[in-house]
């Protein structure tokens, strides 16, 4: 069971995890590992104070890319369930932006697939951030930080 969600308003990642488990994993006894990642908006970037941000996306392509990323991770690791949520629209510092949760029998697959999904999302999913700075300027974020994994 996988769930991919785009939120146009604020969302609570911890509530989403509980809801997913209650709705889909009630009575399921085959998973032994749950790995989660939550990305949150900072109030600084590249040395500047950031007051808010608009996250734009390409809806049909976003859905297609996220589905593909999740499907490929399931082919690569013995993953049982994936929950993936991403925020769009106007975002304030400390708001959650992205949630990736992976359930599997053992920890290695859960950790590795969670990280892989996050890195693939960063580099393939068509989202763009425009920051508003404390100085009054606004700017598009030009690129994401690199994937620092060794392999």
């Amino acid at each position: 069971m996988n769930s991919i969600n785009i939120h146009e308003g604020s969302f609570d990642p911890w509530h989403e995890i509980i809801s997913f488990q209650n709705n889909n994993l009630n009575g399921v006894k085959s998973y032994g590992a749950t790995a989660s990642f939550v990305g949150t908006m900072r109030d600084f970037n590249e040395g500047d104070d950031v007051v808010e941000m608009v996250l734009e996306h390409y809806p049909l392509m976003t859905q297609k890319q996220l589905e593909s990323i999740v499907e490929l991770s399931i082919e690569k690791w013995p993953v049982q369930h994936v929950l993936l949520s991403h925020r769009v629209g106007l975002i304030q510092p400390s708001d959650p932006i992205v949630l990736v949760v992976v359930w599997s029998a053992h920890r290695a697959a859960a950790f590795d697939a969670c990280r892989h999904i996050m890195e693939e999302l960063k580099h393939k999913a068509p989202f763009w951030k425009k920051e508003s700075l404390l100085s009054g300027e606004s700017r598009w974020v030009s690129e994401n930080t690199p994937d620092t994994r060794d392999n």
């Binding site: 392509m61 991403h86 068509p126 690129e143």
Partner: protein
């Protein structure tokens, strides 16, 4: 002349001053040539990406009738 839908996102949308073109054009045509015809005098920024029907494509890929084409800058989600 065949119909092609062209979308622009983020900084490229601001650069060309429009979010969409719906255009009748001789196809096949490469993504790069399509940009030049639709946005005369505006250079396509070097790092720009192209998607055809929601899949990434090379700028030299041919576009066909009824394709949905999108130009956008490097992605920055997550």
């Amino acid at each position: 002349m065949k119909a092609v839908r062209v979308l622009y996102f983020a900084s490229l949308r601001e650069l060309v001053g429009k979010s969409e073109d719906s255009f009748a054009i001789e196809v096949p045509i490469t993504g790069e040539s399509l940009w030049c015809i639709l946005n005369k005098g505006i250079d396509l920024p070097e790092s720009s990406l192209l998607a055809i029907n929601h899949e990434y494509a090379d700028l030299q890929t041919n576009i066909h009738e009824n394709d949905e084409v999108a130009f956008f800058p490097p992605v920055t989600g997550g």
